[in-house]
Amino acid sequence: MRPFYENLPFICIFIAIICGVLSAVIQDGRKVYRLALMMTAVIAVLSVVLLYFLYTEDVSFVYSMGRFAAPYGNAIKAGPLQALLATVFAIVMGLSLLGGGHSLFQDILPEKQGLYFVVTDLLMAGLLALVYTNDMFTGYVFIEITTIAACAMVMAKDTGPNLIATIRYLFMSLLGSGLFLIGLTLLNSVTGYLLMEPLAKAVAILAELGQYQRPLVVSIGLMVVGLGIKGAMFPFHLWLPDAHGGATTSSSAILSGLVLKGYIVLLITLMTRVFGLQLMRKVGVSNILLTLGLLGMIFGSLAAMREYHVKRMLANSSVAQIGYIFMGLGLGTEAGVAAACFHILVHAACKPLLFICAGRLSTVSGHHRSLKNLRGSAYRDVAAGVGFTVGALSMIGIPLLGGFVSKLYLSEAALESPFMAVVLLTIAASTVLNALYYVPAILAIWVRPAWEEVRFIMMDVKPEDTRFDRLFFIADAVFIFLIFLLGIVYHPILNVIRAGIRLM
């Protein structure tokens, strides 16, 4: 009989699936909303318990799904890093649903609200499975679940441009899945295993003997490109601004904060567990990831500077932040991967905060969304203004906030790489570029404009929009607390990440 905490990952995934199925039974939108929030709370608590046990005992375990041991059956593997990521994903999803709740019930028709939460719960199940998976084909099936769920979340608000954004997102995502599957097929044809442990051994033997070099290298490349398309790596990010910018607030927050990260976590698992960082460096894929990450950092910020619609600006900024993560992975060292994981946590805490604050500021300004119509809106809802400011400062990299720590560790990891100068210069340039569009946004919301400019906006504001939104306030406060936590108490968290990567 296993110790009880080893059952927790499997229990979390099944809770998410069963809540998703139950949400289809209950017809009332509000009840299903509460069920979804309870589900994320329960999963967060269970994951924290698991993290405590795994970190104090410094161990990771393989849990066979069924009574057949590897390599015959399916399995999931959990270590400290996986438990930490699961906790953060659950907390961020719960807070995003809290913060965007008001807009959600306005944007989606009542008879379709239940279906929205079905999709949300199954998305949580998909993300948890991507974090814990120990098998390549299970990873593929849950990638598809996450893709369909993410597209359904974008199109929940069915306006015309949103439908087109959804279909572009869907096509690019399916292309990524197709490339991943054909890479997986090629890998299976030369190794014969799907479970990651035996697969890693077979790959190591092949790399040593020098057999089947071309299929091995091509399959690595195809899988990295496939996951990169879905995770908005540089040249494949064109679907992101439309999809994330147009969706309803909680959808944008969950998509930016969690869905992109789920695919990147699978990529990290592939890189560390199956292929090994040494093979990735030898083959040259690390350098490609590094280059594309650097380009993404610059071009994402350049695109964000041109946007005047606040949510599209935040979506373009996501491209730049994902560029940081790919750059960290491309450094090819364990320090780089640890820094990239820390940035995953920071971005998962900051970007949803920015989205829900932008949504709230937009609501109290009569649902206008361009920055010039949001002038002075922070005075109408101070909590949202403070939240937006904290999030933006963290993205720029001000000390005491989470973003500073992740940039610090990325730079430290870059010191050991042969491309040190280019990477450090690009981090610096990207910081400046980030400031160039976040600072005007902060100023815009905090500067009180003259009455004539604002009168036509105030005419659109309805009284129930400016009423105090308690759920939003709670979500806002917790996010701000998390960002300060990541900025001040970062050593324990980084130790957990390092232990997790060691025990991967």
Partner: protein, 297 residues
């Protein structure tokens, strides 16, 4: 706007960042007046520029896309000539895992069809994920196509009413007679395929697809109204949800028992899962048909 000195420092700083400030001496003011300010171009110029940008993007795009695709195809072609040859027993894929499945599937899972034993027992978690994909797809299609205030207009309603009237007054005789003959056989065959998945090719997915096809044939022949009277929205939802719930709970108990070493007698598991999967697949296929055709069940 008030004079410069009366504005607070904060407002002046904000205006400086935004580029709206007033100059401090006449020369700079003159230069600033000459230079076009941040005022955006008139609407037509903006539209024209946007259209040109779109055209350039769409013109460059086919060339870049073709080059990329052809490179990828060339790389794949070169790779595929290097993988192990087709059909050889010594290939890496034919390793001890497949031998174990073939030799022990009868005694460990109770199925003689090694593929069914593999997907429902050894790698059953993938199959659960696949059923979730089906469930999600139907929910998403319902979210998109179910008739509501946003996506229906007078014309569509008129068209649907006209089609229903035509169905009632001018039934398609060939379709009706052949549906009357075939439907019982299709139903029987689908149940046979469903329950015989363990001993012959078949199983939940194939059986469910045949059942769904039979429902579509019946609906097309006799009109959707008649089938809706039997298969109401509540029954449909109930079957779909009960199927996936039964699968999830059964397989959850199986995994929990197996991972913790508790032995539970699970002979009936494969039959229950087959049935659940078959019902979910049939509902999915029939649901797609009615959603696309009429927008409601």
């Amino acid at each position: 706007m008030s004079d410069g000195k009366e504005k607070s420092r904060w407002r002046r700083f904000a205006e400086w960042v935004n580029g709206d400030s007033v100059a401090r001496d006449p020369t700079t003011q003159y230069v600033m007046d000459r230079r076009p300010a941040r005022a955006r171009a008139p609407q037509e110029l903006h539209e024209e520029r946007e259209r040109l940008r779109l055209k350039k993007f769409l013109g460059l795009y086919p060339l870049a896309a073709s080059v990329l695709c052809l490179t990828l195809i060339a790389i794949l072609f070169a790779t595929v000539l290097c993988i192990p040859p087709f059909g050889q027993p010594g290939n890496p894929t034919n390793n001890e895992v497949s031998r174990h499945y073939l030799e022990y599937t009868e005694e460990e899972t109770g199925a003689t069809n090694a593929v069914t034993g593999m997907i429902l027992s050894y790698r059953g978690f993938d199959t659960l994920g696949e059923s979730c994909v089906l469930f999600l797809a139907v929910s998403s299609v319902m979210m998109l196509l179910q008739r509501d205030g946003n996506n229906t207009d007078e014309q569509t309603l008129l068209r649907l009413r006209r089609e229903d009237a035509i169905e009632r007054t001018h039934p398609d005789n060939i379709l009706r007679k052949s549906a009357k003959l075939l439907s019982p056989f299709i139903l029987l065959f689908s149940l046979y395929v469903l329950f015989n998945g363990e001993t012959s090719p078949g199983g939940g997915f194939s059986g469910g697809a045949v059942l769904g096809g039979g429902l579509i044939l019946y609906s097309a022949a006799y009109g959707p109204e008649q089938l809706s009277r039997l298969l109401t929205r509540r029954l449909y939802d109930g079957v779909r949800i009960a199927g996936l719930m039964a699968y999830a709970l059964t397989y959850g108990i199986y995994i929990f028992a197996g991972a913790n070493g508790i032995t539970v007698e699970m002979e009936w598991m494969m039959t229950v899962i087959d049935l659940a999967v078959g019902l979910v697949v049939a509902c999915t296929i029939y649901g797609f048909y009615t959603m696309f055709q009429r927008g409601k069940l």
